[in-house]
Symmetry: C2
Subunit: 405 residues, 2 copies
């Protein structure tokens, strides 16, 4: 149907040939370049460049990774940036972003972007919500105004925003409520089919989202269903939302054998350094999380010997960088003593400098992991990696995070 | 006396030869390179490089120009940066800054720096204060703790901080209180002599400060006295503190013929684009003001057609930069529509991006003025310059500014 539509448009619009060419030459190829048991490296081709996977995506909820310029993000070698559909729909509005040339041009991020579907935020942030089979009616957390998302509306908003990778509208359940998890999963499946049908832009890759709470049978069923859809990638939702780490890893183990081999797998909203290592080990290719930037604004820095609270008085005269092994601008330039001073003096630059470091720490961890997978040493290095990143592992309540970002 | 002291130290400390060499070869030379009636361009040599004057100095009160990295400041061609003695004494403490290698190293600013004496802040910010001929006892605006500044203490703090240009401790009076202005001026003169005597570091240039409110006779007397001191430069205090613009310009006209020709003149805490143009016209070489960064954090941007409040709804879909004629990163990269979105969404990046623009606007204005003085066209261009910068001229209450910065 999209192909037919494009063939027709060419008759009426010479520029449509550009669109059409995307369909003839598939735009979203995923090439696996090396494997180490379940872990793999790959190259995901997008209209804004190739993504080397496994990859960690900084979160830019409101079309900005908080306190950082695009130059900062390029400096730390960020490639994929995530932005939130729910927030941008409410403010400044997806039609405004479209009219300003789309998200890439609006925020001046030239590399690949991803938007979520808004589903998670509607369920976690909106003030009140009424779910039916067709969609969700909710009140804005900003001004209480009433809005309605359907699968079709979510796709339409994401087409206006124009990210390279977009998500099917999904319903995220309480992981421990089996009955609700089943209902939500089934609705998520029906919604994924509707999203796929509603989609019109060939230069965007729509991923379906696996749900199913922490029930192995539901997870397996959902993986099989989402894998059966004609999409260039697979997303995993409903994890890191209150379940234990053991439960999350168990679900990753259940799903892994059922993923299509040649599609990238995106574990949504995850996570800590420990979660990234464990996720890659279980075949995950794409991650995102607000943790690095949110921790930074609360004075907390990733470090290879455990997370540091830089407000601590013990750093007042500490002339070392946050992490001797880090290559980021902050660590190459400033002492812990200076960062602590900025924090105590309530200077906003502290958040910027620690965000640079925290994001670089995770992006660099992924660079190392890609190297280890390529040379075959990743799996044997996992214990060493986990030991190194020990003490950086605590999660932050995800609901709070989503609101904050 | 300082020379004798240095000669003695050489006998005991081989490294003192470095200090001594600063005295043999004067470290702070001021060379006038061109003149256009009272306006002039010059080069002021400091231990951290040459300053081209007239120059505008961004304010980094707490050892950071709010929301900007040193890389941002280099990008906009900032040369001189000011920091506040009162604030750094209270937090993180001048001895800590000294032990961390001094202000340049602490905040990683490799170019010239200037600190004020703390006098103005003690009189405008501290909760209570008791002035006597020896000094001032005051309570911290942060925690109410009691402290005492004397001329000797101010110099000692500024020697610990280690800026290239430091200020004599002064008393700033209500400009309209003639009797108090006279008392404060006379005390400022005695304190300037004590500061000069207390000073020990040869790699710092101490400037005396002219006071005298808006009384022409007091201003003339103060200028003659401060000019008679053996200092490499002259500072002008007690202006832009509540008097009218006409009064300020009248005082600048009174003082100008009495300045020593070959010393740079620093007009403290000034100002708006209009004030900079009028100051240079009246022989001023150095300016500083919190206005560009403070306005930026309140969404207000300098522009050649008048100041813009970027929160204004009219900018929601405006695809032009803040100022088409500006060469800053913000104007080269982002639209007004994006900046307005960041402001409405309460994203801190807005303050960073508008600060870059506002500071670059004043630094670029000074670059243009230096060019006009050099080619002899400055004075004839003043009406055109003032017309161009019209609508950017309103001041902001200085007391509030000092506290805020």
């Amino acid at each position: 149907m999209p192909i037919l539509h494009s063939l027709f448009s060419i008759l009426y619009d010479p520029l449509a040939i550009l669109q059409f060419s995307h369909i003839i030459t598939p735009m979203f190829q995923f090439q696996i370049t090396s494997k180490n048991n379940r872990a793999r490296t790959g190259v995901f081709t997008t209209p804004h460049g190739d993504l080397l996977t496994p990859v960690f995506a900084p979160v830019g909820t409101q079309a900005t990774v908080k306190t950082l310029t695009p130059e900062h993000l390029k400096d730390i070698n960020a490639t994929l940036v995530l932005s939130n559909t729910y927030h941008l729909y409410l403010r400044p509005g997806d039609e405004l972003v479209r009219d300003m040339g789309g998200l890439h041009k609006f925020m001046q991020w030239p590399r690949p972007m991803l938007t979520d579907s808004g589903g998670y935020q509607v369920f976690s942030l909106a003030q009140t919500r009424k779910i039916d089979d067709d969609g969700v009616t909710f009140k804005s957390h900003i001004d209480g105004s009433t809005h309605r998302f359907t699968p079709e509306k979510s796709v339409s908003i994401q087409e206006n925003l124009g990210a390279d990778i977009i998500m099917a509208f999904d319903e995220c359940s309480d992981p421990n409520d089996h009955r609700y998890s089943k209902v939500a999963m089934e609705r998520t499946h029906r919604w994924a089919e509707r999203c796929l049908k509603a989609k019109t832009r060939p230069d965007q890759a729509l991923f379906g989202i696996i749900q199913g709470g922490v029930d192995p049978d539901l997870r397996a069923a959902s993986t099989k269903f989402i894998a059966s859809l004609d999409t260039p990638g697979i997303a995993i939702g409903g994890l890191s939302v209150g379940e234990t780490k053991a439960e999350m890893y168990a679900m990753l183990d259940v799903m892994q054998p059922l993923y299509p081999e040649n599609k990238p797998r995106y574990l949504m909203g995850v996570g800590t350094p420990e979660d990234l290592i464990n996720g890659v080990l279980r075949g995950i290719d794409i991650f995102d999380c607000v943790l690095p930037t949110r921790l930074a604004r609360h004075h907390s820095a990733f470090a290879s010997n455990g997370r540091l609270n830089l407000m601590n008085a013990s750093f007042a005269r500490d002339e070392s960088p946050i992490d001797e092994t880090c290559d980021c601008y902050t660590c190459r330039t400033f002492t812990r003593a200076y960062l602590r001073h900025l924090i105590v003096a309530k200077e906003l630059l502290a958040g910027t400098l620690i965000s640079i470091h925290n994001l670089r720490a995770l992006i660099r961890l992924m660079e190392h992991i890609r190297g280890y997978i390529a040379d075959g040493s990743f799996e044997s290095r996992v214990p060493e990696l986990l030991a190194q990143w020990q003490g950086n592992a605590e999660r932050v309540g995800k609901h709070k995070l989503a609101q904050d970002e």
